[in-house]
Symmetry: C2
Subunit: 445 residues, 2 copies
């Protein structure tokens, strides 16, 4: 790490690091021992699966449970865990384990990786990330293992319990159930639904929020960031649950046949999973247009910044809405929880949202050229799912053409790292201008 | 006008004015003499048609040529002309004709109506608007009348020529061809295609741009606004023509059977019409998904601010792209044509774009609930067409349920006046805060 060249700035390192992990994973998945048929995967499919796992997406061209050997499944699980926690955490961990001090340059690098606000407590944070993750995955895994033990042998139940706990806490969306079924068998099972929803939501808060909540007993205060994440998560979860409950109430292929309690569990799961887990308990292709389009919007929004989620992030969405509201009211300041949001943050939020929307639109148009014979909504859905690193699909993924697969690989990569990080990595940052152009007036709206 | 209460600020007057014109138009269209069958239209359909005409949209629940008597058609044409020029121009005209002086309050009101930048030359501008309009509509109407005279009797050709010139210069999208055909018979006719494309484009520039171009001989300079409108119009028109040419090249139901010249004319027309005319020469339902989605994006963007166009407007789009670009490059200033765009303008642009996108998304979801049995793309297309006051449709409009009709009426109204104007009209503007909250940090993207 100490030999890193000075011109490798944090965004470049992050992009390269992810690319290297993906390539290693893809190579491992082409090995004969990776698949049950002893053939290994083709390189394109291996690259797709490794990208999907490392970018904690969950889009799959081959069914995970049916195709891979346990070795292959454990490679995928490792990629999920490495991608989810972020390889930067691991790099820091190595430094801590080796007892080395962290230089300012490497702290800067970490700052970019976690998109964190202050340098303070960075090392403590990383330790806590690992402890939090271990505890949450252990508790979630144990509950799921016990539940699964009613349906399968104990050893398999333990393996399945922990695989699905890790996959869902990292919002990875991979599952072992086979036949592209995901968790549809457990649509009205309270234990599975509530455990998995909790894992997904906790993973989507982001480590900074978890850390603040952990320290709340001492500090007795929460930052505006944490308040925004928690409030928006609550509003989106409740709002989406109610809407999906209404949209699917009379749909005989989804919530229709279930009891009111079952309908509620089904609606809750489908409200939580687009941000940005990717497991599903309802058959995706049978959902109403209203639910599918709402799902697309939720996938685009995603969850917490610096979490395992993709999309534009929930705080970006909160800043957007607060700005629109204050503009509508003719106010000068944009205020969230009695704190003024600075102009720099607002511009960044709109830039992320606009470029994210552009990416989804361009990918949708490209998919509608490279793929044939599907309804338009499937292309839009697939593009939003890849950009939001969600992993839900109306069924297009396994049928993608080779060019379509490459396109989705690139979209997942862009969605995970974020358009701004990628832009910083490939463009040369300019120095601040000494000269400012005179103002120009332009009519808007 | 002089009795207007002080609490009726410009946005409220604009909203009320449009509403009154629409209601008068709707009432006229319910009269027995308005339709060929002597029955008059139902009030809902009359309201829909009057809103569509006044908001220069062109979405139609009944075919204009087949349904209306000449009286009905002239009511529609009058609503188009009043809506297109803006009733504010007419109000000013009345003042000029009556030789009265214009008070500061009424100038303010006009400023809001045209979204103009300076007070200077307001009266001169209004005179010119009327002269420009008369000249352009006369030239366009004459060319079309001559062309149509080869296909129909002279009197009818003159009527058709001027009706379509007025409709297209005002970007209204209404036509008299019957059977919801629009201009599909003239897909590869250079005279019709080039004349109508010119009328649409000129109408979409906005009066401020036209005025600056007119004065260019003396001033020898163009504002950043005019440069932005002209450049973005050129880029979007050429870019969209090339893409549509490629997307539809092999489509046997659209451009496929035409010669290369015919294909070019067909692609050009379909590139121009979504911003925001609404006439079509290609059968909408047969276009490829790629073209339809591109059309949706173009409809959302619209044309010039202060023109007859709807949507978020082309300058809003230009400011968005310039901001994203400067953020990607890590620049501090957003610069267009060597002029710095102030933060207030940027915030307004993002607010218009975000609220426009929200409106399109919410209307799409509502349509997918109120309407049944269509593919999703039809709902998204209809919502974007109404918000952009475009008037293109994949065929949903005549099949809309009563609630769907009301929804589209509201969307056209919102799209024409703009989300910000409507928000200003219904919310109470707050005074600038004396107290500023302390800054708060929040993670983005
Ligand atoms: K995911
Ligand atoms: K129109």
């Amino acid at each position: 790490m100490r030999k890193i060249k000075d011109n490798l700035d944090p965004p470049k390192i992050l992009v390269l690091g992810f690319a290297i992990i993906i390539l290693i994973g893809a190579t491992l998945l082409t090995l004969p021992i990776a698949t049950e048929d002893g053939q290994g995967l083709s390189f394109l499919n291996a690259l797709f699966t490794a990208t999907s796992a490392t970018c904690v997406t969950g889009l799959i061209v081959v069914d995970t449970g049916d195709t891979f050997s346990m070795f292959g499944e454990l490679v995928i699980l490792s990629l999920i865990q490495v991608g989810g926690l972020g390889f930067m955490t691991f790099a820091t961990l190595l430094f801590i384990l080796l007892g080395k001090k962290i230089s300012f340059k490497e702290r800067l690098l970490l700052k970019e990786a976690f998109n964190n606000i202050t340098f303070a407590g960075m090392v403590r944070l990383v330790k806590r990330i690992l402890i939090f993750t271990a505890i949450i995955e252990f508790v979630g895994g144990s509950i799921l293992a016990i539940r699964f033990s009613f349906d399968m042998p104990a050893a398999k139940a333990i393996y399945y319990g922990f695989f699905h706990a890790i996959s869902n806490f990292n919002n990875a969306g991979f599952d072992l159930m086979g036949e592209f079924r995901s968790l549809t068998h457990y649509v009205d099972d309270p234990t599975v639904v509530l455990t998995v929803c909790s894992l997904i939501t906790l993973g989507g808060l982001g480590f900074v929020v978890m850390n603040e909540l952990f320290e709340y007993r001492q500090t007795r205060q929460l930052s505006v960031h944490t308040k925004a994440v928690l409030t928006t998560t609550l509003i989106l979860t409740i709002g989406a649950t109610v809407l999906i409950f209404l949209f699917e109430y009379g749909n005989n292929k989804t919530l229709g046949p279930l009891s009111v309690a079952g309908k509620s569990l089904g609606a809750l799961f489908h409200a939580v999973t687009p941000r940005t887990a990717g497991a599903n308990t309802l058959p995706m292709a049978d959902l109403t247009h209203s639910t599918l389009f709402l799902t697309i919007i939720l996938m685009y929004i995603g969850a917490g910044s610096g979490s395992t989620a993709g999309g534009i992030k929930i705080t970006t969405f909160a800043v957007l809405m607060a700005t629109v509201w204050s503009q509508f009211k003719g106010k000068e300041d944009v205020v969230l929880f009695k704190r003024r949001i600075v102009m720099e943050t607002i511009l960044k939020a709109f830039t992320v949202a606009t470029s994210g929307a552009l990416i989804v639109m361009i990918v949708t148009i490209l998919l509608s050229i490279t793929e044939k014979g599907h309804v338009f909504l499937m292309y839009l859905f697939e593009a939003a799912s890849a950009f939001g690193t969600v992993g839900l699909s109306m069924g297009l993924t396994p049928e993608l053409s080779p060019i379509g697969r490459l396109l989705i690989i690139l979209t997942m990569f862009t969605g995970r790292l974020g358009p701004l990080t990628l832009a910083y990595a490939i463009t040369k940052r300019q120095k601040q201008e000494a000269y400012h152009h005179p103002k120009g007036n332009i009519m808007i709206g």
